[in-house]
């Protein structure tokens, strides 16, 4: 049976394949991640719709695929007849990037799976074009336009009958050229951060034992985003600590009831509640800047991104409408999303649309840190590990449980005073959470 790209949300459009995690001969389980797509600056895993042995892989890294495009053929799954047919013969060979005159047939037939093939099937990028090679058939108007914009039609495998180049082929070619140019510029910039082309790689083995592994596509995306966010936003980070001694006690008291419901009342849940309350008082922290129209967009919704640590790397699933959810619902959402991230089942849509982000390292350790704003949001909260600290209460030094918090904000939109006021209100929001707020 054939595994096709399911609807991953967002529906229309096509996305480049970031990585293919299976190859012919592998056995896959249903829902196992078989490839990853690059969508909107995040990498989205694609689960297999069935289990079985892989007999054919239709896609490779860089291909753009859309909903319904074939990904794999599986044997021993669902209906076997289909797979036998699809895996037979040598037609899995990629279309040769041959001379245009020789290639019209594959270019035409691959048109059936619109955009499911690489653009290289349409366009010829061998640097040299044989000046004696014949021109493909094209109408005078297409020939004139090509000449005027300086396109050699021999680079285009026409989609018209007989390999005829039509105006839409010419347009697609120009778009492709532009896209490629920008993508290459992007790649060059990305490489420039980690491995400047002008400098040779350092041979670290001269200093001692090393091992190497390739950067995963998710890691590359993270890297690109971090560089962009850090370099384009003027970050200021506000430090503070919240006394959660009483809140923690309350949490422990109520935790068993949550446990009974199969959920966990964590300090993250409480933090979410406090954050939403503070955001409501300070809408600029729940906003975005449209750099094109130079408008500030204030959001009436509270979708809170939660930075989740995974084996593969950082992912930020989003809890929707956190303001309308009970602590139990928040706790359940958190648990579900974290599990999805761990199993790489999280969809692209589930990582989109956040209006504010919380990065909580409390479970791991460490104190204050300076998180990087998750563009196009305007601020991010960092939470460190709570610890007993000497504190002054009523003139006495007493041990109190203090939770380190930081707020990194976009100084273009948010002034220092505003940030200080937000921090104060955020701290107050914690202390104002009562048993009634949390009780089931």
């Amino acid at each position: 049976m054939q595994v096709k790209l399911p609807n991953l949300g967002e529906g229309a459009g096509s996305s480049p394949v970031a990585s293919v995690l299976v190859s012919v001969g592998d056995t896959v389980e249903k829902d196992q991640t078989i490839l990853e797509l690059e969508m909107e600056k995040s990498v989205v895993p694609v689960p297999s719709s069935a289990g079985g042995k892989v007999t054919k892989v239709y896609v490779s890294v860089g291909d753009k695929i859309g909903v319904g495009d074939p990904i794999l053929d599986l044997e021993g799954a669902g209906d076997a007849g289909d797979s036998g047919e699809a895996s037979g013969g040598g037609d899995s060979e990629p279309a040769p990037k041959a001379k245009p005159a020789a290639a019209p047939a594959p270019a035409r037939s691959s048109r059936a799976g619109r955009e499911s093939v690489s653009f290289d099937d349409y366009f010829d990028f061998e640097e040299e074009i044989d000046p004696n090679a014949p021109m493909p058939p094209a109408s005078p108007s297409v020939r004139r336009t090509a000449r005027e914009i300086g396109v050699d039609l021999r680079r285009i495998h026409g989609t018209g009958g007989g390999g005829r180049v039509i105006m839409s082929d010419l347009r697609a070619f120009v778009r492709w050229c532009q896209m490629t140019a920008f993508r290459q510029a992007g790649e060059a910039a990305r490489e420039g951060v980690f491995q400047p082309r002008s400098k040779p790689s350092i041979d670290f083995s001269q200093f001692g034992e090393i091992s190497k592994k390739p950067m995963s596509s998710l890691r590359k995306v993270i890297a690109e985003r971090m560089v962009e966010n850090k370099n384009t936003l003027p970050h200021v980070t506000q430090f503070d600590s919240v006394d959660i001694t009483d809140l923690n006690a309350l949490r422990k008291k109520l935790a068993p009831a949550y446990k009974e419901k199969g959920s966990n009342l964590t300090m993250t849940v409480i933090t979410l509640m406090a954050v939403v309350r503070a955001l409501k008082k300070h809408p600029i922290f729940n906003a975005s800047l449209d750099e094109v129209t130079e408008e500030i967009i204030l959001k009436e919704y509270y979708h809170i991104g939660m930075a989740v640590d995974s084996d593969a790397g950082l992912m930020v699933p989003v809890i929707r409408n956190a303001d309308r959810k009970s602590p139990l619902e928040l706790a359940t959402d958190l648990k579900t999303l974290a599990a999805k991230v761990r199993d790489r089942q999280i969809s692209g849509d589930e990582m989109k649309g956040g209006s504010f982000t919380i990065s909580n390292q409390g479970a791991i350790g460490g104190g204050h840190f300076t998180p990087i704003i998750n563009k196009p949001e305007t601020a991010i909260m960092g939470v460190g590990q709570s610890s007993l600290q000497p504190a002054v209460v009523d003139g006495q030094i007493v041990p109190r449980l203090l939770m380190p918090i930081t707020i990194s904000y976009d100084h273009r939109l948010i002034d220092g005073g505003t940030a200080a006021r937000f921090t104060v209100d955020l701290k107050n929001a914690f202390t104002e959470i009562t048993e009634a707020d949390l009780a089931l």
Partner: protein, 471 residues
């Protein structure tokens, strides 16, 4: 005297020259058009395409009247008033020529009658009836055309030895006419004279008539010649010519080597055309000529002198009016700064014999010679209902198709009205159509244009009106 200034000066008022002048004016240029004759229109209008078509039409009427007896309509022998025929023909020429004058006026194109002579790369001297004028130009377009070749051995100064120019005047219908050259001019004018009553002997040095066209397209025309001419001699040469009283004595060398002297009342020499570039003063410019005297131009119609362009017959290639008009557009577009060039455009060719032969793109014989992998699909007009109603089933439509891509590389047609049918064929080839494109285009019934569709269908082995056999 200060020279007259012109942004564009065009030398020659034929279909290349006036098209260039008009288009340049339409593009906002200030234009002067130089014409050595009294009338605009060049050879095409005054001594070529148009008068020959008028005579062909008139003679075809006679022929068709004769051919209608078996359809139950019998006419008496026609009486031919040559003067009236000439006047009718000339009235067409006058109408067209004055039309061009009007079009020039409406565009503010100044028409100057006289001979142009380059003084240097920016100055043209015009010898007109009003005396000398000097034009200082930014750009010049040479469109001086061609004239019928008259090899020296035939050039006795005897008016009964004619080129097409004199033959089109139809001073008389000679009893015995010798036509030298079986190309399109010899065949067209030979047909006219044979129907008007001359006994026509046609001599061709090559083994075929209209050698540029595929033999299967020429066959019906050759048949017409065999039936209506006194004799058609291939592989035959004319070795000498002299005046003998009121007749012309001609030395004929037959393919078997036999030599014979024959007497004719008139001789039509139609052995090709030569460029009319003489006395232009090109030696005062950087314009270069090739070994045959044609002006050398690049694909943008530029001569070696960067601001002097040349178009039409005087640059050689296919000597056809419509090719000159296209080159006129290219030259003007380059002058006005557009990125224009001769982009391997398709030039249809039409021979206005009876029946007409027309073709565009590659011919079958060219394809075979070049070793191209092509398939040829044919549709004989005997299967066309429309051809039957015209009582003209002596036609054939063929499509030359590139095997791998199924792209149409050429179309050839022989038959009644082939010259009109070639328009669709030209569009198909120019657009890079495939044989399926044409097969799937609906053609009106009953028309001869269906033969184009049916020949395309024949490529796939399913032409409706052909017996179902694979090609």
């Amino acid at each position: 005297m200060d020279p007259i200034k012109a942004q564009v000066v065009v030398i020659g008022g034929g279909p290349g020259g006036y098209a260039a002048a008009f288009y340049a004016a339409d593009q906002g240029k200030q234009v002067i058009l130089i014409e050595k004759d009294e009338k605009l229109g060049g050879v095409c209008l005054n001594r070529g395409c148009i008068p020959s078509k008028a005579l062909l039409h008139a003679s075809k009427m006679i022929h068709e009247a004769r051919e209608s007896a078996h359809r139950g309509i019998t006419f008496g022998e026609p009486t031919i008033d040559l003067e009236k025929l000439r006047n009718w023909k000339n009235s067409i020429l006058n109408k067209l020529s004055s039309g061009i004058v009007g079009l020039a006026k409406s565009r503010n194109v100044e028409v100057m009658h006289g001979r142009g002579h380059f003084e240097d790369s920016h100055t043209l001297r015009v010898e007109s009836s009003e005396g000398q004028k000097y034009i200082s130009f930014e750009h010049a377009i040479i469109a001086t055309g061609s004239r019928a070749a008259l090899p020296r051995v035939f050039d006795l100064g005897n008016p009964r030895i004619m080129t097409s120019r004199a033959a089109l005047e139809v001073e008389e219908v000679p009893e015995e006419l010798l036509v030298i050259g079986g190309g399109y001019i010899g065949m067209e004018l030979g047909s006219v004279y044979s129907i008007l009553g001359s006994k026509v002997t046609l001599v061709e040095a090559l083994p075929a008539l209209i050698a540029a066209a595929d033999p299967d397209l020429v066959r019906p025309v050759a048949k017409f010649a065999e039936e209506n001419f006194k004799e058609v001699r291939l592989n035959t040469k004319i070795t000498s010519m002299s005046t003998k009283g009121a007749k012309i004595k001609v030395g004929v060398e037959f393919p078997d080597g036999e030599k014979r002297d024959e007497l004719y009342d008139r001789v039509l020499v139609s052995v090709g055309r030569v460029p009319a570039n003489g006395e232009l003063g090109l030696e005062n410019t950087r314009v270069e000529l090739d070994e045959k005297g044609f002006i050398k131009v690049n694909e943008r119609q530029q001569t070696r002198d960067s601001n002097i362009y040349a178009i039409g017959d005087c640059v050689g290639g296919l000597m056809l009016a419509h090719k000159a008009s296209k080159e006129a557009r290219i030259a003007v577009e380059v002058i006005t700064g557009q990125d224009s060039l001769w982009d391997n455009f398709m030039v249809p060719a039409v021979v206005f014999t009876d029946p007409e032969i027309a073709w565009v793109g590659i011919t079958e014989q060219e394809a075979r010679k070049e070793g191209k992998k092509v398939k040829v699909a044919k549709f004989p007009w005997s299967a066309s209902g429309r051809a039957l109603t015209y009582d003209r089933t002596d036609g054939l439509t063929k499509i030359i198709v590139e095997e791998e891509s199924e792209r149409i590389l050429g179309i050839g047609i022989v038959g009644h009205g082939a010259g009109e049918l070639i328009g669709e064929a030209t569009l198909a080839v120019e657009m890079g159509a495939t044989v399926r494109d044409v097969a799937e285009t609906i053609h009106a019934h009953p028309t001869l244009s269906e033969t184009i569709m049916e020949s395309a269908e024949a490529f796939f082995g399913h032409a409706t009106h052909l017996a179902g056999k694979k090609h």
